[in-house]
C-alpha cells in the first residue's frame, strides 16, 4: 500500500477542520485535509449559519469571550477568503435579536444580560422594546405577543455553505491538500501517526482530529471515550419571501436566498436524524407567534442534524493523553468559532500554547492528563 508523508493531517473537512487547516497552511506547513464524502452526517451542512455571541455561557465566561473574539476576527477573514477563493460569501455583521413573547421572558432575559455584562466586563447588547425592534427590522410584521427582544450588535449571520465552499476552494490555493475519502482508522506509527483510508494510507508527524462526532472513534488509541454526544436539532424550511431580515432572528432566521429556517430544539436521541412532524410543528407554532406571515407560507422541506456537543457545552481544544502531537477540536459552534479556529489555533496544533482565553478548554477539565 502506498503511503503519503505529510507534516500534518487534519481528519475532518467540515467547518472546524477546514478553518484550522487554513490556519495551519498559513504557517507554511504541509497540510492534508481528509474529508468524508457528503453522504455522511455533517453538522457543517445542517446549520443556519449564525455568528452568535449573545445571551449565552454566563456559567462559562471564557467561552462566552471566545465567541466575541471570533466574531471580531470574522470580517477580515471573510474578506481574505473571498479574495483567495474568488467566491462571494453572503454575510451580515449587523447584530442579532432574540424575540420575547412575554413580560416575564423580557425580564429574565434582561437579568441574564446584566449578569453576563458583569461577568465579561464588556457586552455590546441590551433588551430592546417592541418599538426599537420594529425600527431595526421594519420589514417584519411582528406578532401581537412580541414585546421586545434581546439585542447584541456583535452577532451576525453568514451563508454557512458559502463559507465552507470558500474554505475548500482556498485550501489548495494556500498550499494545503484536500482529499475526499473515508477515514477508517487512526493509529500511532513509527513516531508519528498513520491514517488508514479507503484510498490508501497517509502518514504524518502531527494529527488534528476535527471529525465531529466521529472523533469519539478516532481517539480510541489514546483514550476509551470522548465526552462528546450528539445533540439533535430539527428544522423547517419555509418558502422564499422578499428579503426582510438583514439582522438574524434566533429560532426563525431568513436565509440570504429568501427562505426561512425555523428551529431551536435540543434532543438526546442517539444518532437518529428522523424528522418528527409533531416536534417540528411546535417550532413552527412558536415562529408564527413571532412572525405571523410565516403561517401563510409553505413549508418546503424539513431536516434534522446532529450537533457535536461536548458534555459541558464548552469547546474542546486539546492534545490527547500521552499524545502531544495530536490535537482534538470538538465544538457545537464551529460557524461562530470559525474565525478563531482559522486565526488562533494553529500554534497550539504545532506544539505551542492555546490563546489565554482558551486555556481552560482542554480535556484536563474532564480529568485527563494531557
Amino acid at each position: 500500500m502506498s503511503t503519503t508523508e505529510q507534516d500534518i493531517i487534519v481528519v475532518g473537512g467540515g467547518m472546524a477542520g477546514s478553518a484550522l487547516a487554513y490556519g495551519l497552511a498559513g504557517k507554511g506547513r504541509k497540510v492534508t485535509v481528509l474529508d468524508a464524502p457528503t453522504d455522511t452526517n455533517k453538522a457543517s451542512r445542517a446549520n443556519v449559519g449564525l455568528i452568535w455571541c449573545q445571551s449565552k455561557f454566563l456559567h462559562l465566561p471564557d467561552y462566552a469571550k471566545w465567541g466575541f473574539i471570533s466574531a471580531r476576527l470574522f470580517p477580515a477573514l471573510t474578506k481574505e477568503l473571498e479574495e483567495i477563493s474568488e467566491h462571494t460569501i453572503p454575510v451580515n455583521y449587523l447584530g442579532g435579536v432574540i424575540p420575547v413573547l412575554s413580560a416575564e421572558e423580557y425580564a429574565s432575559r434582561g437579568e441574564y444580560i446584566d449578569k453576563l455584562r458583569e461577568a465579561l466586563g464588556e457586552y455590546k447588547g441590551c433588551m430592546i422594546d417592541r418599538t426599537e425592534l420594529e425600527r431595526k427590522l421594519p420589514g417584519i410584521g411582528w406578532g401581537p405577543e412580541v414585546c421586545g427582544a434581546a439585542w447584541c450588535e456583535e452577532d451576525g449571520v453568514i451563508d454557512p455553505l458559502a463559507l465552507l465552499r470558500a474554505f475548500r476552494v482556498a485550501l489548495p490555493r494556500v498550499g494545503a491538500t484536500y482529499r475526499q475519502t473515508l477515514v477508517y482508522d487512526v493509529q500511532p506509527h513509527a513516531g508519528g501517526y498513520r491514517v488508514t483510508t479507503r484510498d490508501g494510507v497517509f502518514d504524518a508527524e502531527r494529527l488534528v482530529l476535527a471529525a465531529g462526532l466521529a472523533n469519539r472513534r478516532f481517539v480510541q488509541f489514546a483514550m476509551p471515550d470522548l465526552p462528546v454526544y450528539p445533540d439533535k436539532g430539527q428544522v423547517l424550511l419555509v418558502e422564499r419571501m422578499p428579503y426582510v431580515m438583514p439582522i438574524p432572528v434566533l429560532g426563525a432566521t431568513q436565509t440570504f436566498g429568501g427562505t426561512t429556517i425555523i428551529g431551536f430544539r435540543h434532543e438526546h436521541s442517539g444518532h437518529h436524524t428522523r424528522v418528527v412532524p409533531s416536534d417540528v410543528a411546535t417550532e413552527g407554532q412558536w415562529a408564527i407567534r413571532v412572525w405571523p406571515e410565516l403561517g401563510k407560507k409553505r413549508v418546503i422541506r424539513a431536516w434534522a442534524g446532529l450537533r457535536v456537543m461536548p458534555e459541558d457545552k464548552m469547546a474542546i481544544y486539546s492534545h490527547l493523553p500521552g499524545h502531544p502531537k495530536v490535537t482534538l477540536v470538538n465544538t457545537h459552534s464551529a460557524v461562530t468559532m470559525a474565525a478563531a479556529h482559522a486565526r488562533l489555533l494553529a500554534d497550539f496544533a504545532l506544539g505551542g500554547d492555546l490563546p489565554e482565553t482558551a486555556q481552560g478548554m482542554t480535556l484536563k477539565r474532564f480529568g485527563y492528563d494531557c
Binding site: E239, R240, M241, P242, Y243, F256, G258, R298, I300
Partner: protein, 93 residues
C-alpha cells in the same frame, strides 16, 4: 396538437387559452407548448426564473395554479379548465 390520437386538455395561461397533451406537467406545458421564457421572479433579487430541475427540487418553476400562488408547477399535472399564471411581478403573493 393535430394528432387526434393524443388526448389533450384546455388550460389558460395568463388568460390566454392553450391546448396541451393530457398527462404532462404544468411546467412542461408552459415551456414546451407556450414557449414561455420565464415563469417567475426570485423574491429576493428579482431575477427572472424558469423551470429547471423538473423534479420538485429547485423551486424555480413556481406559478399560480387555480388561484394558488407559488405552486411547484413541475409537480402538477395539467387538468381540463386549469388556470395558470406566471409570476412575473417579482413578489411571492
Amino acid at each position: 396538437m393535430q394528432n387526434t390520437a393524443t388526448p389533450t386538455v384546455h388550460i389558460t395561461l395568463d388568460g390566454k387559452p392553450l391546448e396541451v397533451p393530457a398527462g404532462i406537467s404544468v411546467a412542461a406545458a408552459v415551456l414546451g407548448h407556450a414557449h414561455a421564457e420565464h415563469t417567475c421572479k426570485h423574491p429576493v433579487d428579482g431575477s427572472a426564473r424558469a423551470p429547471y430541475c423538473l423534479m420538485g427540487v429547485c423551486f424555480e418553476c413556481l406559478m399560480e395554479i387555480n388561484g394558488e400562488p407559488n405552486v411547484q408547477s413541475c409537480l402538477v399535472t395539467v387538468q381540463e379548465g386549469m388556470t395558470v399564471r406566471r409570476q412575473l411581478s417579482g413578489e411571492s403573493a
